[in-house]
């Protein structure tokens, strides 16, 4: 959203009311940690403009998640790769936040892409194709009664 991109916060001087943001424009991405993390640590990718306090308030208020310690770092996106025009291509930089949950809670990143059996609907093209391929493969296989012996040996 262009209006929020160049956000100018009002100036703060002693005695001013606390700045509140309605409808925050920040999105967190939960990522699977690359390195092994302690069981209570959750890893997020956050926008560069967010601070530790922002993330803490965000998680507590919007997701109702009790947050203990939180540490952030900025990951440099590589500028080394070159495209077909030999120009350097920059991967975007991003900020990573390591959030430790309070009250002894733990979190493990779940397996979101489990292996699923693909069943085609009855009478569809894909089902007929699958059946045909299955039959072809069956013809290629030798007689199981031969016990793995190839056709080269006579009889």
């Amino acid at each position: 959203l262009a209006s929020r991109a160049t956000n100018i916060y009002p100036l703060y001087q002693l005695g001013n009311p606390q700045l509140r943001i309605f409808r925050p424009n920040w999105f967190l991405t939960l990522v699977r940690p690359g390195k092994e993390q302690p069981p209570d640590t959750v890893q997020f990718r956050i926008p560069m403009e967010m601070t530790k306090y922002d993330v803490k308030n965000y998680l507590e208020k919007i997701y109702d998640v009790p947050v203990g310690a939180i540490r952030t770092r900025i990951q440099f996106g590589s500028n080394k790769k070159r495209n077909h025009l030999h120009q350097k291509v920059k991967q975007p930089d991003y900020k990573v936040a390591y959030v430790q949950l309070a009250q002894g809670q733990t979190f493990t990143f779940p397996d979101i892409f489990p292996e699923k059996e693909l069943k085609h609907e009855e009478g569809s093209m894909e089902e007929m194709q699958e059946k045909f391929m299955e039959d072809e493969k069956q013809r290629q296989r030798l007689d199981p009664r031969r016990g793995g012996v190839t056709e080269w040996f006579g009889l």
Binding site: L1, S3, I8, Y9, P10, L11, Y12, Q13, Q18, L19, R20, I21, F22, R23, P24, F27, L28, T29, L30, V31, R32, V42, R45, T51, Y53, D54, N57, Y58, K61, I62, Y63, D64, V65, F107, P110, D111, I112, F113, P114, E115, K116
Partner: protein, 234 residues
Amino acid sequence: MNINLILGIFILKGWDWVGREKSPLAALSWRSPSSSVAPCRALHTTISRRGLDEFFDLPENWGETTVKSGAPWTAKQLRTKSNEDLHKLWYVLLKEKNLLLTLEQEAKRQRVPMSSPERIRKVERSMIRLETVVNERESALRMLQTGQEKARPGAWRRDKFGHVYWYRFKEYAIPWYMNRRYKRKSFFTPKFVQPHIRLRLEKYLRQRARKTSLERRTQSKLKEKFPHANISAS
């Protein structure tokens, strides 16, 4: 400059969309029972406090290639909603977008195609429209109450090259005559820039004339070749 930002959310905890069968993209015609025309019982929704599980979809949808989702909210639909509803919808869309972004990143990590990636664009569009509707309302209110059209004050100013542009004011703690960096900016055009401005204007007019004459020439050629053809309005 780290400002302590506390997110102001009101009445969020008391509402959430009913389960996750209805995604936030479907237009909800949800009315409070007290103001409805037809008699109906009060609707009780349990607030889903799933914590970090809200970053992930329902377990049934894990591993699917396509997940069904509704159309994005249109500005027309959003204009019918109250401010509280829009506020709550913003957070619903925000959580949905977070969910989709986590899914996208995990799909990249596992080198697997993400299920129905168009959902992210739909949510983005809904949020943009929501923002425009809220800004419209805010601007109308400001206009009625104070007579100001814009929230941020500004002025038409000239820069060194003779361009006239809308300069938006910035908040400072000190007046402008004490601000050294601001005083180095010059909001006027020196006299020796006038010939350059004239040349630039001539160039612009020449380009515009060339474009119009080109259009006229192409239209006349087309009319010559195809005399009975319908000339487009453009």
